[in-house]
């Protein structure tokens, strides 16, 4: 049975639908010619390729702009790392800093001044890189959360990971764990985040289906509960412990070592890469669950995976750095305005900008009122919120989602 009857052809041409000549190049170029040929479908030829599809290629131009932007963001990240490593109580020349990083990274020990090397490699770089990894984790998670909730106010905090992590950490500090073992508090934070996520997820899931609106509300409720629990603990601690708790709650990148990085980085890498793998699913979910399902997205499984991967990346970041707000909220918005809503670009771009943003915010936190060191979370809030408001006022149409 020929699907391309002459009559159908002529009628089609009348509408101008196939205004371009050769729009129906004939059978063989169409859908059914793909790997899923389906003879029974009665459509020997799918829609034949149009003139623009002569080579069957996506035009290169549409991929160039995002790629250029990604390269630019990678450059910004390299510059941020170098600048943040060079600047401090002892100011190092940028060139020397870059050379130390390059030399150490390439394994050429001894090629540089050992004093510089000690400052760069042992003191500053771990902290700078930790800031970068945390920023990346939060921004990537934020992009995924805003996508899956179709809600511009969603952030990694929304599923309770941050607040649950805070409760875990605060309980650990309250019980004096920092004196026992330096890894107990981060471990408690990670566990707390997982418990909160499971609680939120269980509240929003009925018969295997997760209702995202309920999940959002459950996240808010669990966060409030976490806040109340932490506030309750304030009454039972002395000033020294209170200081530690507040320090942790405002986010803190001081004293981070290569060990912290070694623990956190693999989890963030797996979580972030995993979220990127779900990019197309997230794109389709923007159109609603039913439409996504009709296009073949395993909706419930996707939601579960995105939550688990977000919890992994965010949980790792929070357990090492404490609660750092606004990165996960603002960075994805900025990138969505610049690069569009396609998560295949949005996720890596958000990750790169998030890393640079937190490195620079931490630089400000260290140096603005030196020798007093601000908490990084204060800086991200102070920089982030006005910028967010500016975006809202300037590009209201883009922030308001359909």
């Amino acid at each position: 049975m020929s699907a391309l009857r002459p009559a159908a052809r002529q009628r089609l041409d009348v509408t101008g639908a196939a205004a371009a000549p050769g729009a129906m190049a004939g059978p063989g170029a169409g859908l059914a010619a793909g790997s899923e040929a389906r003879p029974a479908a009665g459509s020997g030829a799918g829609p034949a390729s149009g003139p623009g599809a002569a080579a069957g290629r996506r035009p290169a131009a549409s991929a160039m702009a995002p790629l250029a932007l990604l390269l630019g963001l990678a450059g910004l990240l390299a510059a941020s790392v170098t600048a943040a490593t060079a600047v401090g109580t002892v100011q190092l020349p940028y060139g020397v800093t870059a050379r130390v990083i390059a030399a150490k990274a390439l394994g050429l020990v001894g090629a540089v001044d050992p004093t510089y090397e000690a400052i760069v490699w042992s003191v500053r770089l771990p902290r700078v890189l930790a800031a970068g990894v945390v920023g990346l984790a939060l921004a990537v998670s934020g992009a995924a959360m805003q996508g899956i909730f179709k809600n511009p106010l969603a952030s990694p905090d929304i599923i309770g990971v941050s607040s649950g992590g805070a409760v875990g950490a605060v309980i650990g500090i309250f019980l004096g764990w920092p004196q026992v073992n330096p890894w107990l508090v981060p471990g408690a934070a990670f566990a707390g985040g997982l418990v909160a996520l499971l609680l939120v997820y269980a509240l929003a899931t009925r018969a295997g289906r997760t209702d995202l609106a309920t999940l959002l509300l459950a996240g808010v409720a669990v966060s409030s509960l976490a806040g109340a629990l932490i506030a309750l603990l304030y009454h039972f601690v002395d000033d020294g412990v209170l200081r530690q708790i507040v320090y942790w709650l405002m986010g803190n990148l001081g004293g981070k070592t290569w060990e912290h990085l070694a623990v956190m980085t693999p989890m963030v890498a797996v979580g972030s890469f995993g979220l990127w793998v779900f990019s197309r699913d997230l794109n389709l979910l923007l159109g609603g669950e039913d439409d996504a399902r009709s296009l073949g997205v395993p909706v419930e499984r996707t939601k579960r995976w995105v939550m688990v991967l977000t919890a992994l990346a965010t949980g790792a970041a929070v357990s090492v750095a404490g609660v750092i707000g606004f990165v996960g909220l603002i960075v994805p918005h900025i990138m969505r305005l610049l690069i569009g809503p396609d998560h295949r670009w949005l996720i890596p771009a958000s990750g790169l900008l998030g890393a640079s943003f937190l490195i620079l915010a931490d630089l400000v936190a260290r140096t603005a009122f030196s020798p007093v060191e601000l908490r990084t979370g204060i800086v991200t809030a102070l920089c982030g919120v006005p910028f967010f408001l500016y975006l809202l006022a300037k590009r209201r149409d883009m922030v308001r989602w359909s």
Binding site: M1, A3, L4, R5, A7, A8, R11, L12, T15, G16, A17, A18, A19, A20, A23, M24, A29, L31, A33, G34, S35, E36, A41, G42, S43, G46, P47, A48, S49, G50, P51, G52, A53, A55, G56, R57, S62, V277, F278, D281, N283, L284, L286, G287, G288, D290, R293, S294, L295, G296, V297, P298, V299, R336, G340, P341, D342, M398, W401, S402
Partner: protein, 265 residues
């Protein structure tokens, strides 16, 4: 049903019921969709048209009964497998914001490629072909949010086309369009059906359009099948009175109904 005829139907609902929050939306619906036909689903608001369409398309699981696709339980197919056979255009399709027309049409290729698989030239050929066949190729770089209602409907038809389905579900495809676009979209659907041998299941409010464009009509009333039969003969004044609560007069050409005129409520 004659046992020997099993499997001839492309899609089949058997004793399907659907309850939510203790309320019955559908009860005991048995219907078969024949290959190549256009089945119209009609009925008053709240009759369960959309729910039945979603269940037939595998987007929702029935509380009772089951749906068979080519004689096999539809529920056994993965979402991805099902999407290569069945496309569903919902009543108000939308996509976040800021996707270009080509991006939206390309979403139709999702079920054909794994998450980490690079797209192949024939994917892009399918996308370009679908845009050409629906007349949206010149809009390819425009944002979907900038288009008019009729143009958007065409883009979502192109997305369904890129999906290369056997069965296309259309839920009120012309609900918010003016009469010119209604005619344009329905004609386009008809041409695409001729060309690709689509089987179509379409929920549609307008009885005159339904009689004109569908081969058979399924009349739903309060979650049950009130009637099902050839589009030209299934409707009569008494049925329309019972189901829609409207006095009507049907113009006939011989036995075949060609037009419904509504007289009073």
């Amino acid at each position: 049903m004659v046992p020997g005829e099993m499997g001839r139907e492309l899609l089949q609902a058997r004793g399907v019921g659907y309850r939510i929050h203790g309320r019955s939306i559908l009860a005991d619906v048995t219907v078969a969709v024949q290959p190549g036909e256009c089945l119209g689903v009609i009925g008053p608001n709240g009759a369960g048209k959309t729910t039945l369409m979603r269940i037939l398309a595998g987007l929702a699981r029935p509380s009772q009964g089951q749906v068979l696709y080519q004689g096999r339980p539809l529920a056994r197919l993965s979402d991805r497998e099902r999407a290569r056979h069945i496309a569903f255009m919902s009543q108000n399709p939308h996509v976040g914001f800021g996707f270009t027309v080509r991006d939206v049409v390309a979403m139709g290729r999702y079920p054909y490629r794994g998450r980490l698989q690079e797209w192949r030239p024939d994917d892009w050929a399918a996308v370009e072909g679908a845009m050409a066949a629906t007349g949206v190729a010149h809009l390819r770089d425009r944002l979907i949010t900038e288009l008019s209602g009729g143009e958007r409907q065409r883009v979502f038809l192109a997305r369904a086309l890129a999906q290369a389905p056997r069965v296309l579900f259309l839920d009120e495809p012309i609900a918010n369009l003016d009469v010119r676009y209604q005619l344009e979209i329905l004609s386009l659907v008809g041409r695409l059906r001729d060309r690709y041998g689509w089987t179509i299941v379409m929920a549609i409010h307008d009885l005159n359009w339904a009689m004109r464009w569908c081969d058979r009509l399924l009349v739903l009333y309060r979650g049950r099948v009130a009637a099902c039969g050839p589009a030209g003969t299934v409707l009569d004044e008494a049925l329309i009175q019972d189901v829609f609560g409207v006095h009507s007069r049907i113009e006939r050409d011989g036995h075949r109904a060609v037009r419904v005129e509504f007289l009073s409520a």
